[in-house]
């Protein structure tokens, strides 16, 4: 059976993982409440989408 010939260094591991970083999600601004929201989705804060499309948003308290 094939086996590793040499020790796998920490550098080799971290070098391989150099490209594995996660990217942050790009957010857009809600034109109604100016909260940051995910694009192409109704705003979870104010329930607006494209000027209308109100969902029922529960008021805090």
């Amino acid at each position: 059976m094939p086996n590793p010939k040499r020790r796998h260094s920490k550098q080799r591991t971290s070098t391989r993982r150099a490209h594995d970083a996660l990217k942050s999600r790009s957010l857009s601004e809600c034109p109604n409440c100016h909260e940051r929201k995910l694009p192409h989705r109704a705003c979870p804060k104010c329930g607006y989408y494209k000027g209308r499309e109100v969902l029922e948003v529960k008021e805090a308290g």
Partner: protein, 164 residues
């Protein structure tokens, strides 16, 4: 290459999927807006678009085809009497899908799918829901007050029994 993978299977057998879509199409035609997951909404869209096209045709043959798919007679009647004429000047694109957040439990993305031009109806429905909610809250409050009122005179009676 994503060749030959058109459409949605939704993890169901053919008959299960057909039932699901027929059911949702019927509900959507009756309620004008339904909330579901994004893949289901996307799978539902072409089905309902085809139904509305039948509704616009309006002849007996079209009516029979729609009746063969939709679950209830009311849905067929509504499709031909109100929805068909409503979209008379529109060639497709009768529906709108809006993503609205995530489902608790499995994290599936939710969306609502609605007929265009149903905004006023949705507004009325929301009003009605708000009224029902207010009524229910008032009733619950009243019931609680009554329970408290009953409990208050009850307590001294218990005390006197203990003393005896």
């Amino acid at each position: 290459m994503r060749h030959k993978v058109a459409g949605w299977k939704l993890g169901r057998t053919t008959s299960h999927r057909r039932s699901l879509l027929r059911n949702m199409a019927t509900s959507l035609i009756l309620e004008e807006r339904i909330e579901t997951t994004v893949p289901k909404a996307k799978a539902l869209r072409p089905q309902v678009e085809k139904m509305i096209t039948l509704g616009k045709k309006g002849d007996l043959s079209a009516r029979r085809q729609a009746a063969a798919y939709l679950m209830t007679r009311e849905a067929v009647n509504k499709l031909f009497d109100t929805i068909g004429p409503r979209f008379g000047d529109r060639e497709g694109g009768f529906l709108r899908i809006v993503r609205v957040g995530w489902q608790k439990g499995d994290g599936a993305e939710k969306a609502f799918i609605e007929l265009l031009g149903s905004e006023k109806l949705q507004e009325e429905k929301r009003q009605k829901r708000a009224e029902t909610r207010a009524k229910r809250t008032a009733e619950a409050k009243k019931a609680m007050e009554e329970a408290e009122a009953q409990a208050a005179p009850g307590e001294p009676a218990e005390d006197s029994e203990k003393k005896e």
